[in-house]
């Protein structure tokens, strides 16, 4: 055991063990990279096949995490609304999102129920979790692209479509590395 332990970091890694299993996000990003060129998002059969493969990948990744890192029963569910531990932060974030969405819809003509806007909310929300600042650039990018792309210009749509998988892949890798670095027994044995 190292002479000094960062208890705050250990607490963080434990409380967020499920959401820091970033390889699941990487698998989602890879699935999208494969799906986009073959029209998988438009073809129901290709989409179904890819979802089945994604499900198998997620199961396998879960097994890897359990065998390599161990098992934790979290207090916070994986689908918890972003904002970290603080209820006040979550409430403020929700209000900010609603206000921004109303302003964007009324004054800028943005379609707030679009995948891009939803991803902007999701990625920005994850920034509120401690140490996960790397979600912010992607969150902002999704919002900006949705605002710029009110008239559905093909080149902007293409950028947005390709931003999605790489956002998942990069943040997924960052989450995984954050967990590895936060667990002393793992980081001292080298990268998992």
């Amino acid at each position: 055991m190292s002479t000094t332990l960062d208890l705050d970091r250990i607490r963080f890694a434990t409380a967020n063990f499920l959401s820091l299993q970033g390889l699941r996000q990487v698998a989602l990003g890879v699935m999208l990279v494969v799906a986009i060129p073959v029209g998988g998002l438009d073809n129901i059969w290709v989409f179904t096949l890819l979802m089945v493969l994604l499900g198998i990948a997620w199961w396998r990744i879960g097994v890897y995490y359990e065998h390599r890192f161990g098992r934790v029963a979290a207090r916070k569910p994986l689908w918890a609304w972003p904002g970290g531990e603080s209820l006040l932060k979550r409430i403020l974030f929700t209000i900010a999102v609603l206000l921004l969405s109303v302003v964007a819809m009324k004054f800028l003509g943005v379609t707030i129920l679009s995948p891009g806007w939803m991803l902007g909310i999701l990625f920005t929300g994850w920034t509120l979790e401690p140490r996960r600042w790397y979600y912010l650039p992607f969150g902002i990018s999704f919002f900006v692209l949705e605002i710029l792309n009110r008239s559905h210009q093909p080149h902007l749509m293409l950028i947005e479509i390709w931003l999605m998988p790489f956002a998942f892949i990069i943040t997924g890798i960052a989450d995984h590395l954050l967990m590895v670095r936060s667990l002393p027994g793992v980081s001292s044995n080298g990268a998992a």
Binding site: M1, L7, I10, R11, A15, F69, G70, V72, A73, S188
Partner: protein, 105 residues
């Protein structure tokens, strides 16, 4: 110069909890509902032998509960913070905060 008499101001520190290895274990368990042996080992950096010893001490002190089950022919050891453990660790951190404030004053 005489040192200030702090004895009557210092809160009692729970020595069971205060030991670094046990404090790390309790920190992990207070952040989740339960954790298995492998996760405790990875999160604390303790060796298997040392972790076993510390878990036993914490269980004997009534601060944690240990459950052993056979899964795929292997024994899985899972630890949970007991109600007393949750209360004692919260009290411990209150005392540590008081201690820190006492030294700052």
């Amino acid at each position: 110069m005489a040192l200030p008499d702090l004895d009557h101001k210092l809160p009692a520190i729970d020595r069971i909890i205060h030991e670094p290895a046990r404090l790390a274990i309790l920190t992990v368990l207070s952040a989740c509902r339960e954790a298995d042996f492998l996760f405790l080992q990875n999160s604390t950096g303790l060796s298997k032998g040392n972790l076993s010893v510390q878990l036993t001490k914490l269980e004997e002190a009534g601060l944690i509960r240990i459950r052993k089950e056979i899964v795929a022919k292997k024994t899985r050891t899972t630890a949970t913070l007991s109600a007393r453990g949750a209360k004692d660790i919260a009290t411990y951190w209150k005392h540590m905060d008081k201690l820190r404030q006492g030294f700052r004053a």
